[in-house]
């Protein structure tokens, strides 16, 4: 089991400046307060899992990270620089981050290979041949080289999600954002996706994962943040959250899930 702590007891990645800083982040939908002053830092190479009940704000925070949602208060800092509000500048920042969606959102009119290659071609201006080469390498990495010419309609959910991961990786991001990546999958295919995610983590990718898969969080995360009603209830290494939680609400949430450790 991985631990948040390195040999001398410090949090993983904390030797360098944090990659993402959420500073008193607030987000409103009309009168509804989705995020109520979030203070969290993501360190380089860290796997951070956001857990909590539905509607507690975890996905909203993730979508604020790559400017899919705007903020109503506070700041999000990427590599020390606040998220730009201008669309064109926001686009540059988005290239540094990869996002994987609950519904995969592959482009149905393109093959798996073209789905992965389209980012480098359109956004990075890469030549089609080079982009396809990179795409093929990534498909091999997620174990789907054989399905390169299949269209999304011919792929299972788990396969589509793995292609979606490859598509995000094709942009060579610094941070990977996962929004409930396995919630829409059949139980048999959840494993293949989590394995790919674990391998990414072992390779040192900085990851922020919104998930209900507690076993994954316990085993792979370096840091866990517990959300409830738009607030951070508790955050810490997985040993703390899952075995010796400080907050009452963390205990409630875990017991509701039937988590027995």
């Amino acid at each position: 089991m991985t631990s948040a702590r390195t040999g001398n007891g410090a949090r993983k990645g904390s030797e360098s400046a944090p990659v993402v800083v959420y500073d008193k982040v607030r987000k409103l939908y009309g009168d509804f307060v989705a995020l109520d002053g979030i203070d969290v830092q993501v360190h380089k190479g860290e796997v951070m899992c956001l857990i909590g009940p539905s509607g507690s704000g975890k996905s909203t925070l993730l979508r604020c990270t790559n400017a899919l949602e705007t903020l109503d208060g506070g700041r999000v800092l990427i590599d020390g620089v606040a998220l730009p509000t201008d669309e064109r500048d926001a686009r540059k920042v988005r290239q540094k981050m990869g996002m994987v969606f609950q519904n995969f959102e592959l482009f149905p009119h393109k093959s798996a290979l073209d789905n992965v290659a389209i980012g480098p071609i359109t956004v990075l201006g890469m030549s089609e041949d080079k982009a396809r080469e990179r795409a093929m390498t990534l498909l091999e990495k997620v174990g789907l080289a054989a399905k390169a010419n299949n269209f999304p309609s011919g792929l299972s959910g788990g396969q589509q999600q793995r292609v979606a991961i490859a598509r995000a990786l094709a942009m060579e991001p610094e941070v990977m954002l996962f929004d409930e990546p396995t919630s829409a999958l059949d139980p048999e295919t959840i494993g293949e996706v989590l394995n790919v995610m674990k391998r990414l983590a072992d390779e040192g990718m900085t990851m922020v994962v919104v998930t209900h898969e507690m076993t994954f969080a316990r085993r792979v995360a370096n840091w866990v943040v517990v959300f409830d009603h738009g607030k951070v209830v508790e955050q810490g290494p997985p040993e703390q959250i899952f075995e010796a939680p400080h907050a009452e609400r963390t205990r409630d949430f875990l017991s509701h899930l039937g988590w027995n450790g």
Partner: protein
Amino acid sequence: MNLDWSVVWNHRDELLHGALLTVLLTVLTMLVAVPAGIVLALMRLSNSKALAAASHWFVEFFRNLPLILVVYWAFYVMPVLLHIEFSAFTTGLVALCLNVSAYNAETFRAGINSIRKGQMEAAVAIGMSRWQAMKQIIVPQAWRRVLPVLASTWVSLFKDTSLVSVIAVGELAHVALQIRSQSFRVLEMLTAMAVIYWLMGYPQAKLVDWIQKRFEVKE
């Protein structure tokens, strides 16, 4: 009631010419109204409030007027407004284009909006601009949904060309009604007119049915 159907046969050349003009009007109108519809739809969906409002009002205006009124209006207004004498054909064509562009704009807008929000988000998340996302991801998917509606609009347009007969454009309806007036063969000519339209229109209607089945989108 003595009927003389030979009048139809005797004027077959004129009737054929009228039918061809009907087809020509339909084709030319669509050639203009499809691109125009796309432009209007994109204007409506753009971030510019001015463009969106302009497109919105254009579309609402022409969708809520009887086409026959637009034909008459164009006939009287265009020469005065633009200080050129247009042929009846051009005037009729302009009226048809204005009308059909407005309908196409709604068709394209609905088609684009029917694509799930997540597709735009996924495209934007890998760093595409909204414009790139529209061009590469949204519009190619929207075509499937748009095609059946365009086909149905085509058939409506084909029938609506009959309205430009009121400003003496020589399409099928005008030709048939002229022959009726000159020959006094009312029943024969009116029936022949209906039958010729039917012969052209029925296969088109069936084709539209086929297209709608073929491109049916099941979510």
